[in-house]
């Protein structure tokens, strides 16, 4: 298992954000995590990356984990190139040219301070920075946020490609449930800190409750 979470409880002060959550992601698997605003998805992502301490339960990660955090979380005072290079802190990768191949726009912006980039450009940097660590498992807290449709499509394709070629495992939190279902074979649904459903994407997409809440009728 790449990610193994058992009975995880995480609290902010008195408020419990995750309540006995158990889930797993196998090697080479792409799994989606759905849920409404405030369900605790980002909290789970933070706990996986070791940024939040669990109140109880266990989190085990079976390889190098990289996180694309909520809110991008770049180094605003550093250049795009330096942001990417620091993504390689754990892996020792310093040269961002592989990322530039995936996201050519970043090559143009290499010397720009990350703090002044547009929202979407920042999202690209966050994605590229996570790739720099050559992860075995990638936790993506929102992939398409602020990205133009053609960029989103490109990144989704790239994730699928990495999954195929290098066996990259992915836990994907994504606002666009359709995209998530397309990309991931399996999905979990989190509501108010509890796992409410899990299953094959195809089955979930067919479930009227899930479809109503996350596929959102006419839109998307």
């Amino acid at each position: 298992m790449m990610i193994e979470v058992t009975d995880l409880v995480v609290a902010y002060g008195a408020a419990t954000a995750l309540d006995r959550v158990t889930l797993s992601v196998a090697e080479g698997e792409m799994v989606a995590l759905l849920g409404p605003n405030g369900a605790g998805k980002s909290t789970l992502a933070g706990a996986l990356a070791g940024l939040l301490r669990p109140a109880s339960g266990t989190v085990t990660v079976g390889g190098r984990l990289a996180l694309i955090p909520e809110g991008r979380q770049l180094f605003p005072d550093l250049s795009v190139a330096d942001n990417l290079a620091l993504g390689g802190w754990r892996s020792g990768v310093r040269d961002p040219s592989a990322v530039y191949d995936v996201l050519p726009r970043l090559a143009e912006l290499a010397d720009r301070r990350a703090g002044v980039l547009s929202g979407g450009e920042q999202q690209m940097v966050a994605f590229g920075r996570a790739l720099m660590s050559r992860p075995d498992v990638l936790v993506v807290d929102e992939l398409s946020l602020g990205l133009a449709p053609n960029v989103t499509a490109g990144l989704a394709r790239h994730l699928a490609e990495l999954n195929r070629s290098r066996g990259l495992a992915v836990l994907l939190i994504e606002q666009n449930a359709r995209l998530a279902f397309e990309l991931c074979r399996r999905a979990y649904v989190l509501e108010s800190g509890r796992l409410v459903t899990e299953g094959e994407s195809a089955a979930l997409a067919g479930d009227p409750r899930v479809a109503g809440a996350y596929l959102g009728g006419a839109i998307t």
């Binding site: 940024l51 955090p69 180094f75 605003p76 550093l78 620091l86 993504g87 802190w89 703090g115 920042q122």
Partner: protein, 286 residues
Amino acid sequence: MSAFLTYLLNGLAVGCAIALIASGLVVIHRVTGVVNFAQGTFAVVAGLCASSLLGLGLPHGASELAAVLAAAVAGLLTGLAAVGRPGTTPLSSLIVTLGVGVLAYAVEIVLWGDQPRSALGLAGSVTVAGARIQTQHLLVIVVTAVAFVALALFFGRTYLGKALTACASNPYAARVVGIDVRRMGLLAFALGGLLGGLAGVLVTPMRPISFDTDVTLIVNGFAAAVFGALTRPVITLGGALLLGVAETMAAGYGYGSHQLEIALGLMLVVMIVQAGRHPAISQEPT
């Protein structure tokens, strides 16, 4: 003309001494986001150590080296108090460094007493293009130049330098990519202590040092460091030189009793003019 050159050269030396204090402030703030009010203390500790060691008969060079190392240790200890505890906000850390500075008074009084001390430095003076400058001043200029080139290269060019910078730029993100923010903070404080110590051993021969000299030292250093936004070594050096030269020129051309007003005022004007160029929107997250 040679009068002007005298003022200029000596002003540069004064500015360099200020810059050395400021450099430690910059290093620590750049990495931890903390304004280290104990920075003057590092210089005082080193100055007092050096004067004691020299007094014990240790040769020059060895004494100063030991003193600088002592300051680095002081820096590390300050760091442990200020950023050693996870979750300490920069404002809390700032107050802790204030506290450390005051605590150091007590330690210094016990070890060295409350009377000022001095150390002997390089004697004599050198004449450059008709202008005289003390040898010790020249030494300060050289050391400062080396220190700042090293700092600029370290932060601007090296990977470790960038990782250190990243820690203050966004500590959360630093943890996301796996940087140990706490350890980097301690490293920065030790480095800050080292630079403060360097300033201390170089300044002691020029002026007596007592336990509370840190206040005088930090005011100018703070001015220069803020000028460089507390993050940029080269601009900080520029600010320090501006201060130093403004002071000597003011004294040279008949405003000796208004040096402070002139130097600080000038600095304020430059800052305010620059601030006008940065709209608020570009300082907030996109």
